[in-house]
Amino acid sequence: MGELMALLVTSVLVNNVILTQFLGMCPFMGVSKKKSSAIGMGVAVVFVIVVAALVTYALYYLVLVPLHLEFMDLITFILVIASLVQLTEMFIKKTSPALYKSLGVYLPLITTNCVVLNVCLVNISNSYNFAQMLVYSIGTPLGFALVLFIFSTIRERLEQSEVPNAFVGNPIALIVAAIMAMAFSCFTGIV
């Protein structure tokens, strides 16, 4: 139990997926301009990653390994993730317009999100058992959502300050990310 808690804290704070592992930068830069979009994106990411990790884990150990087809892992994962996203979007469109309004738009952006593919690949390469895989797959997108939310609040304030011309837009956002990375690096001693 303690080991799982350590894994959770590691994946959310210490090895934070954006600030330490540099994954998920594209949606990080694109969707973080407003708080509401950040929240929507965060929830969508958590959902997609948990489901995708479960399905790919099951597929790898129940189909690929018994048939000695491990080399198919990359192609399988990417196709499964893309199909899952399409299925989820279709499902949400048909069942809940309110849900679609809040997070349906961000679902397709997650298909090529580095984070999803990374979580699926790491689950396999670190040989996690089921409980560890579950904890890692919940912790990583939680860390992503946390940083995305904080970042969006800062960026909203940034709109009203004076920034040098060349730095407007993405460069100043990256400097903010650098400062946040410095802040989060203080978590390295915790576990």
Binding site: F22, G24, L74, I75, I78, A82, C114, L117, N118, L174
Partner: protein, 219 residues
């Protein structure tokens, strides 16, 4: 735009990393050393050229509605082949680049160029475009890793990826006491990237201002 113009544009003006902000994930992560940057840059060039060529070849027979899924499948297959080749022939590169080789699949540059260019142009044009964008990417990661490695460790060290023992280049420029080791970590990556992106943005603004002034004078 004729093909040479397009090729040149991929290098600085439309540099995929600093200008279009594509493929940022891998740029930030692998630029800790020049060695990694060269390895990754070459892999991206190879995948880009090959995927552009293949997609350009099949562009006339893919049904229009499903072309994006088809491109994703083609790119995934290509990257898996490259990954297996690297695992076999350059294992040290495999350990240092780690998970970022398979993540080339989701690198926005490749799918972006496939959709924006290769699906509409001939084979030679697409290959040249892939080469231009790949070289732009390599230039960008080389610049970043040069700065980061120099400041964080004081020197540059390049080894032969196929044979680790062979050192190609080993410079020590800054003495140990003056190195700023934080540049090797994520903080330094963000700062370097931000400054370089601002520099390229300023250059672009300068160039467009000059072009507009010239156009106004002609009127």
């Amino acid at each position: 735009m004729n093909r040479f113009e397009n090729f040149k544009a991929g290098l600085i003006k439309d540099n995929p990393v600093f200008s279009l902000f594509l493929g940022i994930c891998s740029t930030l992560a692998i630029t800790t050393t020049v060695n990694n940057a060269i390895g990754m840059g070459v892999s991206v060039i190879i995948v880009l050229i090959m995927s552009n060529v293949i997609i350009s070849c099949v562009r006339k027979i893919t049904p229009d509605e499903i072309r994006i899924p088809v491109y994703i499948v083609i790119i995934a297959t290509l990257v898996k082949i490259i990954q297996m080749l690297i695992q076999a022939y350059a294992p040290s590169l495999n350990t240092s680049l780690g998970v970022f080789i398979p993540l080339i699949v989701v690198n926005c540059i490749i799918l972006g160029r496939a959709e924006a260019f290769a699906s509409k142009n001939g084979i030679l044009d697409s290959a040249l475009d892939g080469l231009g964008m790949g070289l732009g990417y390599t230039l960008a990661v080389l610049a970043m890793s040069f700065i980061r490695e120099l400041i964080s460790t004081g020197g540059i060290k390049v080894v032969n990826p196929f044979n680790e023992a062979q050192v190609w280049l080993n410079l020590h420029i800054i003495p140990e006491n003056f190195t700023i080791s934080i540049f090797g970590s994520s903080v330094g990556a963000f700062i370097t990237f931000a400054v370089l992106a601002a520099a390229v943005g300023a250059y672009k603004q300068h160039v467009t201002a000059k072009e507009e002034a010239a156009a106004k004078e002609e009127k």
